[in-house]
């Protein structure tokens, strides 16, 4: 990833923390954290909007709890758009994405603040009935769902097809495009019926690569940016699984590995990571698990005790190439085959 980021001719980062990506930036502009920001729709909209389990639609308003002079990243982008001469296009894009209607639409020549955009969105969403101040009182914008919205299946004569004939057409189209471009592309999986394909490493344990590496998230962390929050880092340090490599107890015994040891995990391409092992009964004997919340190395991470790190970096084991890509959905193989051994340093 580091080599890839170095290829960019110019790199701007607008971030509240100088994270790993920002470390490669030519220019870094500071912005607000979540506690400083005013954002409409701070919740995960599909969970509260799309679910038929709720009686009402609900959009939360994230309100600033502290102002320490940082600017909202939208305001920074508006400045850049104005100075770079594409403010009109920028405003048009906002109108499109926020679905602003009528008088609430942004005019192309005027510069709007983030606050104004939130105001307009609320106005547009509520048909002019509500203002930002109204929504701020309750902290959310909500409205009742109709019966049809709550029980959609009753009102739609939908069919779930079992035979996807359009896959055949899509395959043909892709074949034409890739042949014209001279790109070798396998379209054999564009079949109308559900098919099963083994993962790239399935059934092949040669060379000692007999374990599947799997990953998951810790409940209290999101991706790797939670490691900029010292409370969550502290929680992780006191968690039996966070940041560790999990092996089935009997599998570990077979490899002569004991609890707390530092082990080395290697994929078929020779990519290696090292970490502390935790032995468990709650993992399949053929799997090796770790969360994907670790691996940070940015200099601005909160201070941590000597000898501790942010945990293993699962991404190190993934291969981003055509062999590991599912051409149908664009997903990469996320359970690579690996082999384990004791790390040279031994016990942590």
């Amino acid at each position: 990833m580091a080599e890839y980021l170095k290829k960019f001719a110019f790199h701007l980062s607008i971030v509240p923390n100088i994270d790993e990506t920002a470390e490669f930036a030519d220019i870094i502009l500071p912005t607000q954290t979540q506690l400083e920001r005013l954002d409409m729709g701070a919740n995960n909209i599909p969970d509260t909007m799309g679910s038929t389990a709720t009686e009402e639609y609900c959009i939360n308003l994230r309100q600033p709890v502290v102002d320490i002079g940082n600017r909202h990243h939208v305001d920074v982008w508006v400045d850049i758009a104005e100075k770079a001469g594409f403010l009109g296009d920028f405003n048009a894009m906002v109108n499109y994405f926020m679905e602003l209607q009528g008088n609430f639409q942004l005019s192309p020549e005027r510069k709007y603040s983030n606050r104004e955009m939130v105001e307009r969105w609320i106005g547009s969403m509520s048909g002019g009935r509500l203002t930002l101040d109204d929504v701020a009182k309750e902290g959310r914008l909500k409205w009742k769902k109709s019966v049809q919205e709550r029980y959609p299946r009753h009102f739609y004569r939908a069919r779930i097809p079992l035979y996807y004939e359009y896959h055949i057409d899509a395959g043909e189209m892709i074949k034409n495009v890739t042949e014209n471009l001279g790109i070798p592309w396998d379209v054999s999986r564009y079949k109308p019926l559900p098919s099963w394909y083994p993962g790239p490493g399935y059934g092949d344990s040669s060379g000692g690569f007999e374990l599947y590496a799997v990953s998951y998230k810790q409940t209290f962390k999101t991706a790797t940016f939670s490691n900029f929050n010292p409370w969550l880092v502290e929680l992780g340090r006191n968690h039996p699984l966070a940041g560790k490599i999990i092996l089935n107890r009997r599998t570990a015994e077979r490899f002569g590995i004991s609890e707390g040891e530092r082990i080395r995990v290697e994929n078929r391409r020779g990519r290696v990571l090292e970490g502390e092992v935790h032995l468990s009964e709650c993992i399949h004997p053929e799997c090796l698990g770790m969360d994907h919340n670790g691996g940070n190395w940015a200099k601005s991470l909160p201070p941590r005790p000597k000898g501790t790190d942010s945990g293993v970096h699962f991404g190190e084991l993934l291969d981003y190439d055509m062999k590991n890509l599912d051409v149908m959905d664009g997903a990469f193989e996320a359970s690579p085959k690996v082999r384990v051994s004791k790390a040279a340093g031994g016990r942590k």
Binding site: R237, N238, H239, P240
Partner: protein, 295 residues
């Protein structure tokens, strides 16, 4: 992972070397004062005050807010820290005043009375550390009657061993009772210390504590320091002296140094080995375990 996140046996880490130094200083000081008064060794009475002084200093350094330490005597009716602080304060008050007034002619006659008061106060000071630890009901190693007795016996044995060595080196006046009493105090110390561990119970916490002292990282302190250096070697030297087989000054000095270090090592091992019982109960999960085991 901090110890607070452990679910099994957890060793208490709130008290350490500083607190042991305090327990040792006040114990040895009180024991030495009693032995010195009985033997009539004024210099050692002063040395005893210095030992207790070291203990008080260690205690003040241990406190998070030493400027409020006077508050420590507010709950004499309930807390052993209050009782101990009061007794140590009274002991020091009487002993230091007794020491000073003996040089002031008009009030010199009060000196024996003050010394007697200090002597009386030294007795609870002997057992204070043991009683304080015993009051921590969560740590079963420290429970029961034998820890205060063992701590007290350790202090008395240290006091008499030091006095015995001093008399041998610097005092020509023979005290025929001193050698057997010192020997007896060492035997008593061994008996109470052994009884304490033997009768501490068999809970998970106690088993872990004993294991740590017997063969774990505290073995050096407990077995070698507390028992070998603190009891076996002084006992051997005293026994040889009793049998008139050996009467050397160097060996007498060795006996005292071993005894003083052994006393500290024993207390430090006991303080650091204190363990809490596992906080996670087995009962609510037992059924699930049985189902698993059956498969």
């Amino acid at each position: 992972m901090t110890p607070k996140y452990l679910t099994g046996v957890r060793f208490a880490n709130h008290f350490g070397v500083l607190e042991t130094l305090s327990f040792w200083g006040e114990g040895v000081g009180a024991g030495l004062f009693i032995a010195a008064v009985l033997a009539g060794e004024r210099f050692l009475e002063t040395a005893a005050i210095a030992f207790v002084g070291i203990a008080v200093l260690a205690l003040l350094v241990h406190l998070g807010n030493p400027q409020r330490s006077w508050r420590a005597v507010r709950r004499v009716g309930n807390a052993w820290v209050s009782r101990g602080t009061l007794m140590i304060g009274l002991f020091l008050g009487f002993a230091v005043s007794g020491f000073i007034v003996q040089f002031i002619a008009p009030v010199a006659s009060f000196a024996p009375l003050l010394k007697l008061a200090a002597f009386v106060c030294a007795i609870p000071v002997l057992i204070y550390a043991g009683m304080l630890l015993r009051s921590m009901r969560a740590i079963r190693l420290w429970g029961g009657p034998y820890l205060p007795l063992a701590f007290g016996a350790q202090a008395v044995a240290s006091g008499f061993t030091v006095v015995w060595t001093y008399v041998k080196l610097f005092d020509a006046v023979p005290r025929p009772w001193l050698q057997p009493v010192t020997l007896g105090s060492l035997l008593l110390c061994a008996a109470f210390s052994a009884l304490h561990v033997a009768r501490a119970g068999k809970s998970a916490g106690v088993r872990a504590s004993v294991e740590r002292m017997r063969s774990g990282d505290l073995r050096g302190l407990f077995v070698i320091g507390g028992w070998l250096l603190g009891i076996a070697i002084p006992l051997a030297i005293l026994t040889l002296a009793q049998a008139n087989l050996e009467d050397g000054a160097i060996l007498a000095l060795v006996a005292s140094f071993c005894r003083l270090y052994g006393d500290f090592a024993y207390r430090n091992a006991i303080v650091r080995a204190g363990a809490y019982e596992p906080v996670v109960p087995t009962a609510p999960y037992a059924l699930f375990r049985k189902v698993s085991a059956a498969k």
